[in-house]
Structures are given as structure tokens and as C-alpha cells.
């Protein structure tokens, strides 16, 4: 065969998507079990131990493994195709993949053998097996290798194209890379500096507020690490699939840069009700959190305007007539549009979470899981599923198997998530805590009001599971049994309505924005961390759950 079904570079992203898919499949099983458990259904082998084990596995495999591997794979696709030059650093890319995969296996082993039921936030002094922390550290080290490869490719393109702005898709991926490099030192210091020596017994105690602060230094930018690659798809894949063009390229550049600047100095909004941190610093982080709403507001306009351009270029007329001309049968299109719709709801909830005083009404209640299943659980995850349907034929050179499932799957996800998420927002407002094995509280009056809603949530969970398995079926089916395509479609990126001017602007100066971001991070975290370290404080001994 002269036309190899998979040229060399495509194997790299496909290998990443394989790990992502496996993690997603296992995590989905955990999820449906939890949804049914919360509704207090009498399932076989249902125990508290298994429930908390499964919450840990679901969080780690979905939020850390599925996302990170998918993003790394997608990053390589962008670097190769948007830059239009051969990848440099493929060997480092494969080494990083190996490190992250080994780390995933170690952490998954610790979790699934019941030695790391500490949830994906792993707050000390709950203590896991050292393999859990070492495994997670390896995943982060692998992702740093990915960052290095992405930066090398960016620089290689810049050398060959002096003075020109990099294509928008790569600009967005570089913003992702930079914010990841800015925030991961927080979790690295927490895990390598505090938790690994402590779990090995080399040091006796850990300060839990310091550990939480370092975790959320990383933990909130983590959500933008998930979100920005989805934004890359919204800006640079969706408009073309809608049959049109991107409404504005320069504003897209501005949006990604603002995320570099504002992603990290916001972490205290996860610690509003923590002791040991002064309210003034929490307020500063709250205001930064509001500022970071701005780039998402701009995105909402630009992306919807691009859809309208597409609808009208397809002959749509009238105020809303263009909507009917959009390609609703395309899995990528449907998945991304439903993701964006869901993200709007999630954004409103996020503004409430960031509300300094209002946060006390919802902190650590079911509202929070309702919220982040709209954002990461749909806006990000469903976009990634849509991207899988779009990328697979282009990378593997095979026809999508079971296309009807791919068409229905996004709608099922949307419907299931609406039930699940609305129910959890309501029970959260009614005071139900998140992450509890069962929520009857021995028949307490307040708890009885939650029961009907947990049933709605469980129904949503079942629909989501059907959707998740449809996704796994289509992706695995395509790779295993897909018919080879004679003409492999190209990975092609959306063009802007007005051509990009051939010169770099302020928004292309990523180095400058990185320096400004570091200044803001030092202001936001320097004093609070120094005062945590400086005051007379006590550590806590580890407790294995």
C-alpha cells in the first residue's frame, strides 16, 4: 500500500486520544454508579468505601487524565496543521506521553485498589499511597514536556515567518501552554515539596491551609487549561464547519491573552470560607474573577456572530432564519453549539460562585457539582467529543462508524446534563452537601426535601451514561472497524471575515503578557503565602481514609 492509513505524525495525537478515551470510559462507569447511589437506589455491592473510591476515580480520570491527554493530542494537531510545518521534538513528545501514561497507571492503581480515596482535590491531612502523588506528579511532568514541544514548534514557525502573527489556533494553544506553565508550579510544590515526603513518612506533618492554597493556585487556572482548547475549537473550527468565517480574528487574540493574564490570581474564590486567610485578599481574588468574565463575554459575541455569518452565507435570511440553515446534522457542529449554550448557563452560575457573600450559600453544596458539570463537564467535554468526530477521519483516515450515534449523542448529553445539573443546583440551594454517599441524614426534615431532586439527577445520570457509551462506541468503532477513506479530509482552520494583517500587534506579544501575568500572580499570592508561612502555625499528621 502506498497510501499508509496513518502517516507518522498522526500516530502521536491518536495515541493521546486513546488514553483519553479509556479514562473517559472508566470514569463514565463510575459516574452512573454515583448518580444512582445518591438517589439511594439499592445497588449490589453498594458501599461507602466503593462510593468514595469511585468519586476519586471519576474526578482524577475525567478532570485530570481525559482532559490533559485530549488537550496534548489536540495541541499537536494544531501545531502540525495550523503552522503547516513538520513537527519538531517528536521524540520528546513521545517521552512525555510515556511519562504521563506511566503516572496515570500508577495513580489509577492506587485509586482502584482503595489506597487513595482522597478525591481528586486530595486535601491533606487525608493521606493517599505515595504512588498516587508520584503518579500525578508524572502526569504533570509529561504535560511540561508537551509544553516544551509546543513552544519549540511555535519558535520554529516564528523564525521562518519573521514579523508575522501566528495563526489564531496556535495563538490559543500557546495561551493554554503559558497559563499551564504559570499555574502548575503551585501543585508541583504542593505534591513534590509537601505531600510526597509526607506520604513516605520523611516529614511528619503538613499545614492543610498552605496545601489548599497551593492546590487552588493551580486548581482554578486548571479550568482554563481545559477551556482554552475548547475556545480554540469555537473560534477556529466551528465557523468553518458552520459554512462561514470567523467574525473577528484580533478580538480572539485579545481573549486568549486576557486568559494568560487573569487565570491564576483568582484561586481564593475556592477558599472564601477558609480560616487563616484575610478577607481582603479573598476580595482581591473575587474582583479578578469578575474581570475574567470579560473574555468569555467577548467570546459569546464573536462566536455567535460567526455562526450568523455561516447561516447567511448558506442563504439564511431574516432575524432568526439563518439559524435554520446551520448544519444541525453535523456531530461537531451540534456538539459545539450545545456546549456553548450550556456554558452560558454555567457562566451565570460562576458569577454567583465568585460573589464574595453569596458564595456562602452554595460553597461545597451540590450546586458546585451542578455548576462544573455545565462548564468542564459539558462546555469542555462535549466540545472535545465533537472534536473527536471531526478529527478521527482526518487523522486515522477512516470513515466515522455508527454516524447516527454521533449525531444523537450530543443531544443526549445536553438533555441528560440539563436534568442532572438543574437538579444539583436546586438541591445545592436547599443545602445538600456535595460528595456524600447518601444524603438522608437519618430522616432530618431539611434532607427530605432533597430526595425528589436526587431522583431527577439520577435520571440525568443514566441518560448521560447512554450518551457517553455512544461516544465510546463511535470512536472505538471508527478506529477498529472504520472503512479507510480514499480521500482523507484535511484538517482546515476557519478563516477570518477580514484577512489578518501581516504584522504582529500588542496581542501577539506573548512574552510581554507572561511577564505581566507573573507580576499579578506575585501581587495576589506573595503576601498571603508569606503570611501563612510566617505565622506560628501547626501541621497535621496524615490519616489514611
Amino acid at each position: 500500500m502506498s497510501a499508509a492509513p496513518s502517516a507518522r505524525w498522526q500516530r502521536l495525537p491518536l495515541a493521546h486520544f486513546g488514553v483519553a478515551l479509556a479514562a473517559f470510559g472508566v470514569a463514565s462507569l463510575m459516574a452512573v454508579m454515583q448518580a444512582l447511589s445518591r438517589a439511594d437506589l439499592k445497588l449490589p455491592a453498594r458501599t461507602a468505601q466503593i462510593y468514595y473510591l469511585s468519586v476519586t476515580a471519576h474526578g482524577v480520570l475525567m478532570a485530570l487524565v481525559f482532559t490533559t491527554f485530549f488537550i496534548m493530542g489536540f495541541g499537536y494537531v494544531v501545531a502540525r496543521t495550523a503552522l503547516g510545518r513538520p513537527l519538531v521534538g517528536e521524540r520528546l513528545a513521545w517521552t512525555s506521553y510515556g511519562a504521563a501514561l506511566a503516572g496515570t497507571v500508577a495513580a489509577a492503581w492506587a485509586i482502584l485498589t482503595g489506597q487513595a480515596s482522597v478525591l481528586y482535590t486530595f486535601y491533606p491531612p487525608l493521606q493517599a499511597h505515595p504512588a498516587f502523588y508520584i503518579g500525578l506528579a508524572l502526569v504533570v511532568v509529561g504535560s511540561w514536556g508537551w509544553c516544551a514541544v509546543m513552544i519549540r514548534n511555535y519558535r520554529a514557525w516564528r523564525r521562518e515567518n519573521p514579523g508575522l502573527p501566528v495563526p489564531l489556533a496556535m495563538h490559543g494553544m500557546m495561551a493554554t501552554v503559558i497559563l499551564w506553565c504559570l499555574c502548575t508550579p503551585g501543585v508541583a510544590v504542593e505534591v513534590v515539596g509537601l505531600l510526597i515526603p509526607w506520604s513516605l513518612g520523611w516529614v511528619k506533618t503538613v499545614d492543610p491551609v498552605l496545601a489548599r492554597t497551593l492546590f487552588w493556585f493551580f486548581g482554578h487556572p486548571l479550568v482554563y487549561f481545559w477551556l482554552l482548547p475548547a475556545y480554540v475549537a469555537w473560534y477556529t473550527v466551528l465557523p468553518r464547519q458552520a459554512g462561514g468565517k470567523l467574525f473577528s480574528d484580533p478580538l480572539g487574540r485579545m481573549v486568549f491573552v486576557l486568559f494568560i493574564l487573569l487565570s491564576t490570581p483568582v484561586g481564593f474564590h475556592h477558599q472564601f470560607v477558609d480560616p487563616g486567610i484575610h478577607a481582603g485578599w479573598k476580595l482581591f481574588h473575587a474582583l479578578n474573577t469578575y474581570a475574567i468574565l470579560f473574555p468569555s463575554f467577548v467570546t459569546a459575541f464573536t462566536v455567535v456572530a460567526s455562526l450568523e455569518v455561516g447561516g447567511r452565507m448558506r442563504g439564511g435570511r431574516g432575524l432568526f432564519g439563518w439559524l435554520t440553515r446551520l448544519p444541525w446534522g453535523e456531530p461537531l457542529f451540534t456538539a459545539v453549539v450545545l456546549s456553548m449554550l450550556t456554558f452560558t448557563l454555567g457562566g451565570f452560575g460562576g458569577a454567583i460562585n465568585a460573589g464574595f457573600g453569596m458564595n456562602a450559600m452554595i460553597h461545597n453544596t451540590a450546586w458546585v457539582q451542578g455548576h462544573f458539570h455545565l462548564t468542564v463537564g459539558t462546555a469542555v467535554a462535549l466540545t472535545f467529543m465533537g472534536l473527536s468526530y471531526w478529527l478521527l477521519p482526518r487523522l486515522a483516515g477512516k470513515e466515522l462508524r455508527f454516524p447516527a450515534f454521533a449525531q444523537v449523542q450530543p443531544w443526549l448529553w445536553f438533555a441528560g446534563m440539563m436534568l442532572f445539573s438543574v437538579a444539583n443546583h436546586v438541591t445545592g440551594l436547599l443545602g445538600m452537601p456535595r460528595r456524600v454517599y447518601e444524603a438522608s441524614y437519618q430522616g432530618a426534615g431539611a434532607a427530605s426535601a432533597w430526595a425528589p431532586w436526587t431522583a431527577v439527577s439520577a435520571a440525568g445520570g443514566v441518560i448521560l451514561f447512554v450518551s457517553a457509551m455512544s461516544y465510546v462506541l463511535v470512536v472505538a468503532g471508527t478506529v477498529l472497524w472504520g472503512r479507510p477513506l480514499k480521500d482523507r479530509p484535511e484538517v482546515a482552520w476557519a478563516e477570518p471575515l477580514e484577512p489578518v494583517e501581516p504584522r504582529r500587534t500588542l496581542w501577539d506579544r506573548l512574552g510581554l503578557w507572561t511577564v505581566l501575568a507573573i507580576v499579578l500572580i506575585v501581587i495576589a499570592y506573595g503576601y498571603p503565602i508569606a503570611s501563612l508561612l510566617g505565622m506560628h502555625h501547626f501541621g497535621a499528621h496524615g490519616i489514611r481514609p
Binding site: Y52, V209, P275, L283, F297, T302, F356, G357
Partner: protein
Amino acid sequence: MKVHVYEKFWMGTAVAIIAAFAAAVVLTAYGMGIHPPSHVETIDPATVESDPRFAHRGVGVERGRTVVTMVLRMWSFDPAELSVPAGVPVTFRLTSPDVIHGFEIVGTNVNAMVVPGYVSQVTTTFPRAGDYLIVCHEYCGVGHHLMQAAIKVAGGGS
């Protein structure tokens, strides 16, 4: 950079909305004193049981204010039953000798993390008499969902 007039209008609106959000937060924080519980006080988790600050648990009165002192541990609240008056400020002082716990009084705005090594403090006024449920909202091990307490608010309006 060319910016379309629609985009300018939209971005102006977005800035106005965000400014309104921020103003609401700053005004309620400084004008009405609404802050999340942010008490800064440390304690050795190993000696909570003998620490004079937590020797007398339950409802007390300090300088004319109602103060509730509680220890949260795996997997119970100590004490697990309380009675406080309605209509007056009640301050809860909380700590943990083992892992992180959460403190939420369902149906009120009382919500705090309780972290070993630190003393959490949160003040509220119960407007109505009644029975309230206290739950732990931070995962603290396999008995997390069993961790609950009851608080009876007496007097005042109902």
C-alpha cells in the same frame, strides 16, 4: 486593530455588567460588613482536647455575646445537640483535631471550612425559631455522610 461597532457596543455592555457585579461585592463587603468567615487563629491539632479555648464545648456567653464552641472530628460534631436563641448574633468557634471538615447549617448562610491547625469563626443571627440541621460538607473519610448535628433555635419569632 479594527473593531466593529457591534463589538464595541457589546464590549461596553460587558464592562458595565462586570463593573456592576464588582461594585455590588465591594459595597456589600465594606458598606454592610458582609465578609466570608476569614478568622486567622492557629491551634495545635494534637492538643485540641486539652486546649483551654476548646475545653468547654457547647453554648456559652462571652462579653455578652452568645458563643458556641464545637470540635468537629471523624465523624461527629461535639456537641451534637445545641440550643441557641433567635434574633441575636451567635458566634461559632470551630476546630478539628484530625482532618478537614465542613460546617454548614442547612437553610442559613453559615458555611465554613474547619481545618486542623486553625480555628474557624463564623457569626450569624437566626431570624426564626426552629430545628436546624448541621452537616459536614467536606469529605472527611468513609463516614463523612454520617456526620450531622442538630441545633434548636428558641424564642423570637417563628
